[in-house]
Symmetry: C2
Subunit: 217 residues, 2 copies
C-alpha cells in the first residue's frame, strides 16, 4: 500500500512517516518539494541509525495524492479547508483525517468543532463523491510518533462509513507496531474521537504528564 | 468521610457502594427507604463472602444528603433535573456528577448534552450556591464496579472549579483500589469527559468488547 502524508513535514506527519516507512512506501507531501525531500533524508537517517531500511519519497501535496492509495491529512485544523479545496484527484482513494478542531482558552483546551459537527464531517463535505473517508490516529501526540524507542502501545479509534476503507485503515494501524486499532463506528461519531484529544492535552497540563496517550481495554 | 450515593440502588450506584463501603461509611440513597435497605443487605452479603467488613446504611435520597459529606449523583441523565429540584441542603457539600447525557441513534451512541453544554454544567446551574460540584467516575461501566474480582485499574478524570473539593474526590478515587484519579481541569471541560462514555459504548459495540474501560498514561 502506498501511503501519502499531506503535511508530512509537520511533527505528526514526520512521526507517522518514521513509523510507517519501514513497512510501506511512504510519500511525504509538502507545499514545497524541497522541504519534503529534506524531511525524507532526515527520516532515512534516523531509521538507518536504528538499522531499519525504508522507502520514502518527498513530493508536493498534489503529487502525493496522485501517487498514493491512502492519503493521510496530517495538517492542523486551520489548514483543512484550504488544503482540501486545492487538492484534486481524491476520488476513489482512502483519505484519513487525524485532524482535531481544538482551541486553547486560558488554562485549558476545548473542543471547538465546525458547524458540520466535527473536522471529519467538514472534510466529508469538501471531498469529492467516491472518496473513502475515515478518521484515525487523532489521539497520538507528535512526540510519541517520533520517539522510536516508545513502543506506541496505544489504542487507535477508527471511524468511517465504508467498511472496506475502514478495514484498510485498521490494517495500516495494526501494522504499525504496536498500535491497536478499534472500530469506533460511523463518521457520525467522529466528535467523540476528536474531542478526546483536548482531554488528553488537559490531562497532560494539569497532571504534569507528557504527551498523554490512551488505551481502551 | 461519609459518602452518600443518590440512586444508590441502581447498577452503578450499587457497584460504587460495594467498592467504597470497605473504606468509608457509605449511605445508599433511594426514593424508598426499604429498597435502599434491601440493597445494603445484599451488598453486605457480597462483601462478607469476600471477607470484607463494611459500613453501609440505607436511607431515602434526602436523608442521604443530610447524612453525607460527599454526595454522588449515581442517576441517569433523565433524572438529574427532577432529583436536584427535590433535594435540599446540598450547600457546603461536595457533590460528584458521574452523569452522562447519552442517546442511542440506531446502531451507535452519541453525546447529546443539554443547552448548558454538559450534564455537570446543568447540575451546577440547579445546585445552590456554595455547593462544591465535581465531575468524576463518568467512564466506568456498572458491571466493572460490581465485579469485585476486577482490580478496577482505570483512570478517573476529575473536573471541578474548587481545588479543595477536587482533592477530596481524587482522594476518594485513589482510595478505591486501584483507580487512578487525574485532574482533567475545570468544570468547563466536563463535555470532554462525559463524551468519552458514548465512545466507550461504541467501541464495545463495534468490537464485541464488554464494558470497555480507559487508561490514560
Amino acid at each position: 500500500m502506498r501511503i501519502g502524508i499531506i503535511g508530512g513535514t509537520g511533527g505528526i506527519g514526520e512521526g507517522m512517516a518514521l513509523r510507517m516507512a519501514p513497512f510501506h512506501t511512504v510519500v511525504i507531501g509538502s507545499r514545497e518539494t524541497e522541504k519534503a525531500q529534506v524531511c525524507c533524508r532526515e527520516c532515512e537517517e534516523i531509521l538507518m541509525k536504528k538499522g531499519l531500511s525504508c522507502s520514502l519519497i518527498g513530493k508536493t501535496n498534489q503529487e502525493t495524492v496522485d501517487f498514493a492509495d491512502l492519503v493521510i491529512l496530517a495538517i492542523p485544523f486551520k489548514f483543512l479547508v484550504p488544503t482540501l479545496q486545492e487538492l484534486k484527484g481524491l476520488e476513489g482513494k482512502v483519505v484519513v483525517s487525524p485532524v482535531n478542531p481544538i482551541e486553547k482558552t486560558g488554562e485549558y483546551f476545548s473542543y471547538v468543532p465546525p458547524s458540520e459537527g466535527s473536522a471529519a464531517l467538514l472534510a466529508r463535505k469538501l471531498l469529492p463523491e467516491g472518496t473513502q473517508l475515515c478518521l484515525a490516529f487523532n489521539n497520538i501526540a507528535a512526540n510519541r510518533w517520533r520517539d522510536l524507542d516508545d513502543p506506541l502501545e496505544y489504542s487507535v479509534a477508527v471511524c468511517g462509513d465504508d467498511m472496506g476503507a475502514k478495514r484498510k485503515v485498521m490494517e495500516l494501524a495494526a501494522g504499525t507496531p504496536h498500535l491497536r486499532p478499534l472500530d469506533a463506528g460511523p463518521l457520525a461519531v467522529a466528535p467523540l474521537v476528536e474531542s478526546l484529544t483536548p482531554l488528553l492535552l488537559n490531562l497532560g497540563r494539569f497532571n504534569r504528564m507528557k504527551d498523554v496517550g490512551v488505551r481502551f481495554f
